[in-house]
């Protein structure tokens, strides 16, 4: 394969990755391991029924968009808290939960068990549906 062939291959792979990322961005995926997070670890009390725990970093622009979406979401549903924590000052928790980038939003049930995880800017309608089923259980 000549250089032009390799160039085309690089662009095709990058495009496939970009399209996959656009498709998966912010989707709430079920977390089957259900790790438990205590309020002591995040320094704030959990929500009565559920918690949206957002991991952010200082210079992350999509984190700001996420913050607005999550704040609006918890306003609409009673007993649900939105907690935003700085990933860099909670690196131990970041490693334990395998948080790879910011923003990552975890949906915790009333006991602090992780139910869903959304990497990237979450989709509000999907989030509301997932929250409703978590609270309904």
């Amino acid at each position: 394969m000549n250089s032009f062939g390799w160039l085309a291959l690089v662009l095709v792979i990058a495009s496939a990755f970009g399209l996959w990322r656009r498709w998966s961005e912010g989707r709430a995926v079920v977390d089957n391991k259900h790790p438990e997070i205590g309020s002591a670890e995040i320094g704030q009390p959990l929500g009565e029924k559920a918690t949206l725990l957002q991991f952010s970093t200082a210079f992350c622009s999509p984190c700001r968009t996420t913050k607005v979406i999550l704040a609006k979401t918890v306003d609409a549903i009673e007993g649900v808290a939105h907690i935003e924590i700085d990933a860099e000052s909670h690196l131990e928790l970041v490693r334990r939960l395998d948080i790879r980038r910011t923003p990552t939003t975890l949906l915790l049930d009333a006991q602090g068990r992780v139910q869903n995880r959304a990497v990237g800017v979450p989709r509000q309608d999907e989030l509301i549906a997932v929250l409703a089923s978590t609270i309904g259980e």
Binding site: S3, F4, W6, L7, V10, L11, I13, A14, S15, F17, G18, L19, R21, R22, T57, A58, F59, C60, S61, A87, E88, L91, E92, V94, R95, I99, R100, R101, T102
Partner: protein, 145 residues
């Protein structure tokens, strides 16, 4: 002069598009003098972007002085820190590519240019900032606590 901390988001994206073209030409002409000149220029551009900041980066400057006054006003701004970090990541790839030239290894040059090209293309086409996304992962591995 104070360093601007907020950038028109279109600036770094325009810069990524220019970088993609420069690196694509360097990639297909690897081993020639043209490729070496392009890689040297791109390394300087990355270096200015990483050390001084994206506002001083040549492509960013061209956007701010020539293009931006001719298009609609900015509606979205972003912090200068993530693109600056991304420029530093690009600088790492560019230095590796130059090392390939001096070590007489076209393979090393093409791999480094290919990776930088993929990152710049993702930024230009999908607004995906590889350097920004790697930030937390790098912090996870470099900090022990």
């Amino acid at each position: 002069m104070a360093t601007p901390t907020q950038l028109d988001v279109r600036g770094p994206r325009f810069g990524a598009a220019v970088t993609t073209v420069v690196l694509a030409v360097a990639f297909v002409s690897a081993g020639t003098t043209l490729a070496t000149i392009l890689l040297l220029l791109q390394t300087v551009a990355f270096g200015i972007g990483a050390v001084v900041g994206p506002h001083a980066q040549p492509y960013g400057k061209f956007f701010a002085t020539v293009i931006r006054p001719r298009i609609s006003p900015a509606t979205k701004f972003e912090d200068a820190a993530p693109p600056r970090f991304a420029q530093a990541v690009g600088l790492g790839f560019a230095v590796a590519a130059l090392a390939g030239i001096f070590l007489n290894s076209i393979a090393l040059t093409q791999i480094a240019v290919g990776l930088a090209l993929a990152a710049a293309f993702l930024n230009a086409a999908f607004s995906f900032c590889l350097g920004c996304e790697m930030y937390l992962l790098i912090r996870r591995f470099t900090t022990s606590s």
